[in-house]
């Protein structure tokens, strides 16, 4: 993944309507972003549609990029994740999670290498917050990973973990609070 220093000038040039810069930005970031969308949507065609919409949006909105949104890659990741999550939630089957669907989701996760928890651990290594992450309770960590990387809702997570939805909500809330402290330490 390119460092923020690499991408900021490109985003600035895209904002000026520079097509060559746009292409370069695409080539530098689309593979990583497609990986993120594919984890959530599980369907290459739909994930590529999300990337397509996201980049069309970036072309028109690059001028609105501000450093407060994080590094350019963070900004792009947020655009892609939000669109992927919207696309996923627009499927009726995810609105009302039936037992069958959750079993499917579980099978998918088990086929996944690396799985969501492994991805969270790897990211923590890269951000040098592994020790901090280890202080977060296992169930909370798993909820965080399933939410961030797979986009699972509370009810999907509850079914996946075989736990009451109330517990999942509490785990997630506590996990988020602890993760916030870890991430702020990473800066």
């Amino acid at each position: 993944m390119s460092s923020p220093a690499d991408l900021s000038p490109l985003v600035a040039r895209v904002a000026l309507g520079d097509r060559a810069a746009f292409r370069t930005l695409y080539e530098a970031t689309a593979p990583s972003l497609l990986g993120v969308a594919l984890r959530i949507l599980r369907d290459r065609g739909r994930a590529e549609d999300v990337i397509q919409d996201a980049f069309v949006n970036v072309w028109h909105r690059a001028g609105s990029y501000r450093e407060t949104a994080g590094a350019p890659m963070t900004w792009l990741t947020a655009i892609v994740r939000n669109r992927a999550l919207d696309a996923m939630r627009s499927e009726s089957r995810h609105e009302a999670s039936s037992l069958t669907d959750d079993e499917d989701a579980m099978a998918d996760i088990e086929d996944d290498r690396p799985d969501a928890l492994a991805l969270l651990t790897q990211a923590a290594d890269a951000l040098a917050i592994r020790a901090c992450l280890a202080t977060i309770d296992g169930s909370q960590r798993q909820c965080l990973a399933l939410a961030y990387y797979r986009g699972l809702s509370h009810s999907e997570m509850a079914a996946h973990l075989g736990s009451p939805i109330g517990s999942v909500k509490v785990w997630l809330r506590r996990g988020l609070e602890k993760l916030r402290r870890c991430l702020e330490r990473a800066k």
């Binding site: 000038p9 370069t24 069309v56 890269a126 961030y148």
Partner: protein, 245 residues
């Protein structure tokens, strides 16, 4: 709900960013985000905070057609003619002053010198080095000898950029196919080219691998994009393929 409480907004923003909200709740938060700056600030803060978590997700190469679709939808190829903004060789002269200005403002010349070519647009390389990048370039002419099409690709890149200098007549339902004519071997198809304007396509290998033994390029009219191993119909454009270094 009382959205004046920062801790509530923060919690909602976290759940929104992490993706645990159902569709209905998501849409409600999106509306809130659009109307209440504090909600947007909270969401942006969580997006910025969690951006680093995505870096462990393995990258997946997009299909070759994805860029073309994005390009078309953003007014690139096939749209009404507009001032060239880089990409084709013909655009460089136009782009240089602007690129120089932008680069000066951004003070990124050092970055251009250090970064790999793959990450830097061609006009930026030209500006920083004062020379054209190592490329394969073909100028194809029609049967009257008029320059009709420009094909260019950087030496170690996989993108072939096409600029049509004079529109080409193509019967409805047919395509223009670009071929490489290697020394001592049969022609092989490179990709489909536009009848006018600009476009680009991805090649399966780098130019260096495909074109180092190719002194000439040609274009034929085909019923459909030519598959490897097929023979071309008659050529309507031909030209030299040269190494620009």
């Amino acid at each position: 709900m009382n959205y004046d409480r920062p801790e509530l907004l923060d919690r909602l923003a976290a759940e929104y960013v992490f993706g645990t909200m159902t569709g209905r709740v998501r849409r409600r938060f999106q509306r809130l985000r659009a109307s209440l700056p504090a909600a947007d600030v909270a969401a942006v803060a969580w997006e910025a905070r969690t951006g680093g978590l995505a870096q462990s997700v393995p990258a997946v190469a997009p299909s070759p057609g994805l860029w073309n679709a994005i390009d078309r939808r953003t007014g690139g190829t096939g749209a009404a003619p507009e001032p060239a903004r880089g990409g084709g060789i013909g655009a460089w002269a136009w782009a240089l002053p602007l690129t120089g200005l932008v680069f000066g403002v951004l003070a990124t010349v050092g970055f251009v010198r250090l970064a790999p070519d793959a990450l830097v647009p061609i006009d930026a390389i030209v500006q920083a080095r004062g020379t054209l990048p190592e490329s394969y370039v073909g100028i194809l002419t029609d049967t009257t000898g008029a320059a009709t099409m420009l094909a260019s690709s950087t030496r170690h890149g996989t993108t072939m950029s096409i600029k049509v200098l004079r529109p080409v007549e193509v019967p409805e339902g047919k395509v223009l196919q670009l071929w490489a004519l290697p020394r001592g071997a049969e022609p092989f198809p490179l990709g489909v080219v536009p009848r006018e304007g600009k476009d680009s396509f991805e090649m399966p290998e780098t130019s260096e691998k495909l074109l180092s033994n190719v002194p000439r390029l040609a274009v034929s009219i085909e019923d459909k994009p030519a598959a490897p191993g097929t023979e071309p119909q008659g050529f309507i454009l031909t030209g030299h393929c040269v190494k620009l270094w």
